[in-house]
Symmetry: C2
Subunit: 492 residues, 2 copies
């Protein structure tokens, strides 16, 4: 493809993407394709000779679009949102065109420097302390692929620091601290790094948040057993229910355990810190005071297309001490600027990296701080509307306090829950979820809170308006009534 062919194909791609977004609301949220559908449509091997690009682009429409789960659909309320803004798309387009694998400064000066600056913009947007700014030249921020990568990096750096300070520690005694509500990233880090993880129990009366007492009890128990906790992953906005671990209490406990790395996983809720009115409930002052590292995914609720997982550390040397391997091939010939320039390859697990800061830059400039805040507030308002509607239902009840733009609810028989076992109610909700999942006009996720199956409703698409919330409520209300009836027949 030459430059003029690219211009033509590029315009056509933009037009096709516009068509897709115009049609999005009328399309189903979920796909009805069966596993293996694509093998029936696509040949077994690449063509011998090149094909016309118009045909290829047509096939995207014919073959790929029908097989998508539409995360950008206004009626997508599953998992957490995945951002897809036009600014993010354009950022990716420029980034891909400039294709700069910015593993060190000299390989791509603009790539490194824009990340250094925009991560400071993002830190300021969220109200993080200056200690976390790259401009501090002590702490700093870096874009990682996902919150899982961030935790891997944090655990590796924490392990390295702990072993340096306690060289006689046996690795089999080292423990990652998390809770039963922590995202699977803690378990994944543990199996990848072959470390133990302790998932501390949390209580429903604490809204599934970790409290100081539970942490202290675990620490004292492990101290007696000779185990060495070296990192605590506290979650500000859990995946299951949006629970916010009590950072004030946890920080107070960790004052007595200064060797423990304090990681704040605010992958989902972190971007809500852009609005001052949510900072206290999300414990920003204590995070600023006490956290060793912080993660917020701009690619979830934060308007920047995947991947843009922001990670800040209070001391960048903890990363570079743990991750630096510098062969001669990556040495710049003139080392005079070492110390003033960041080589991001030593801040993450791999070597090469994409120019991801462009999309963050585009989004923050195009929305502005005020626009970003409006987006956060609007989605929370949408969730509040859903909560208000739920409060009028006879068969739907909240199962936990709503958290920002996330609601966890259950269907419950109108005669009340006391007559039924926990198993029966979980069975009822699992049946309900199965029915709702069979629909293609809405998408939700199930979860389990301390063994109780329930349903999550997460708002986050910039395209979700009041009518989508009302429609969603009507669907779940109607399906709930039907499911309860069938379930009663089944029970009797």
């Amino acid at each position: 493809m030459d430059i003029e062919q690219f211009r033509k194909a590029g315009y056509a791609a933009i037009d096709r993407i516009c068509d897709y977004f115009y049609s999005l609301e009328k399309l189903p949220v979920t796909s009805k394709v069966e596993p293996g559908y694509l093998r029936k449509l696509i040949p077994d091997e690449a063509p011998e000779n090149g094909e016309d690009f118009t045909k290829i682009a047509d096939d995207v429409k014919e073959m790929i679009l029908p097989g998508l789960t539409r995360w950008q659909h206004p009626s997508f309320f599953a998992y957490f949102p995945t951002a897809c803004t036009f600014e993010g798309i354009l950022g990716d387009l420029y980034s891909s065109s400039l294709s700069n694998p910015g593993f060190n400064w000299s390989a791509s000066p603009a790539c490194t420097e824009l990340e250094v600056i925009t991560m400071d913009w993002a830190a300021k947007l969220l109200g993080l302390a200056p200690a976390f700014y790259n401009a501090s030249e002590v702490g700093g921020g870096v874009i990682q692929t996902s919150a899982s990568d961030v935790v891997l990096v944090a655990v590796v750096a924490a392990r390295s620091r702990f072993q340096r300070d306690h060289p006689d520690t046996k690795v089999e005694d080292m423990v990652i601290y998390a809770t039963t509500q922590t995202h699977s990233l803690a378990k994944k880090a543990a199996i990848v790094l072959s470390l133990q993880v302790r998932s501390i129990e949390v209580k429903s009366e604490d809204q599934y948040a970790l409290r100081g007492d539970s942490l202290r009890a675990a620490l004292e128990e492990d101290a007696k057993l000779g185990r060495k906790p070296f990192i605590l992953i506290a979650t500000v906005g859990t995946t299951s229910s949006g629970a916010v671990d009590n950072v004030v209490e946890l920080a107070a406990v960790l004052k007595d355990y200064p060797d423990i790395w304090f990681h704040i996983d605010a992958a989902w809720a972190g971007v809500a810190l852009a609005c001052p009115e949510f900072r206290e409930q999300l414990y920003l002052p204590e995070i600023n005071e006490s956290a060793t590292s912080v993660c917020a995914n701009f690619h979830k609720w934060g308007l920047v297309n995947f991947d843009c997982s922001a990670m800040w550390v209070r001391d960048r040397r903890l990363l570079t001490d743990a991750l630096d391997v510098t062969p001669i091939i990556h040495d710049p010939s003139d080392l005079s600027f070492v110390g003033t320039a960041i080589d991001y390859r030593n801040w993450h697990l791999g070597l090469g990296r994409r120019f991801r800061s462009i999309k963050l830059w585009f989004v923050l400039r195009s929305y502005g701080i005020a626009g970003f805040q409006r987006h956060i507030r609007k989605t929370i308002d949408m969730n509040n509307l859903f909560v208000k509607l739920l409060s009028e239902s006879k068969v739907l009840t909240l199962f936990a306090e709503p958290s920002l733009a996330l609601t966890v609810f259950r269907i419950t028989p109108p005669e009340g829950v006391d007559k039924f076992s926990a198993e029966a109610l979980s069975d009822l909700n699992a049946r309900f979820f199965k029915v709702v999942s069979a629909r293609d006009d809405i998408m939700l996720t199930q979860t389990s809170l301390n063994g109780h199956v329930c349903i999550r409703f997460a708002v986050g698409s910039a395209r979700t308006e009041e009518n989508h919330i009302k429609q969603a409520y009507e669907i779940v209300e109607q399906e709930a009534a039907k499911v309860i009836e069938t379930w009663r027949q089944h029970q009797s």
Copy 2:
């Protein structure tokens, strides 16, 4: 930005990218910006209110483009190439617009299925055995971010298998095997996973390739010491000199050590397997017979924009056994298709993943097998031209046998090398590299082969033509003559 504003900004972005590529050849390869240049141009924080997108796009041109190292420039001969094709850009554009985090099948059926199919296309393109196809339902292929991620995944899976089969093994006895020429990915995997790595020495008379005897000697030595090698990372095309470890001999030795995972890192050279004439020298038959896993980066020499690191395994359960953590939130409500569908989250380190197979699909369809082969052959021809020119020089000499599209050379005084110490010759070449690096019309990389500083010349851009090779030769020839003169004065 609404849909029509996106259309306008999208067209403009395509036009600006076309302008960039029209201008590319006339632009310098390297940037002359100083560290910190961008801080002087960009405000310290995000704007309060959104800005006009035209202004933002203008700033890309004014602020970002001047700070790029131009990896797509026809006179870029540094590191290894990073692909940047129009097909790859368009693939990224569609992928970003569809924003499907395909961690499991049901979250994004098309995303998973296209990766399943295109990884089989890629396996066939490279001549890999059917055991590695996803269609085999035993082995399979997955796209990872980089060869470093691939090695991390392979080492984790290898460690898991070894510990399962030898439950009494102490982790501190476990050793990753690599060579002194292995990419830094081996050392990075070792520090990330807190494992030992043994870098086996290689010899210049073996062209820096690992031989069977050296491997066997290391294994026997470690057996006596109670150390447990559990993975061998063999490189097919090393970064420094394109050396190809002797897979035939290594496979023969490993027959006696069936517990050792045999990983082939063909990150750079792997895509040359598309051309049948290179398969024997790259040991394809033995790879097909013996490798546990194979890596080839399509984002280097393989025309697909970063990131597209292809990983194949002979037994997919070795990955999923090591990496599966499945919380209820990721369980589909209907599990009837489990077993027929791949959930790629259990094949890599994180959870979320981008829809990267679109760009692989676009490239393989638009180029076709024949077009892909033409690209590989052309770049090798370009390198052969450089080698031919070198052979006429009085001050430039090959330091290792040219490997495919990579040449390692040194500048040498015309009176011969015997009069000078190894240190003096390394000093001469380091001086030469410094002088060449100060130029902005060409970019090369230095390396060190068994302590001897030398210069790498890697061809790979689809835009490099004969005139660029001739110009590059003239530049290095002229600079070499000047450097030798200055160096002589310095010596005397």
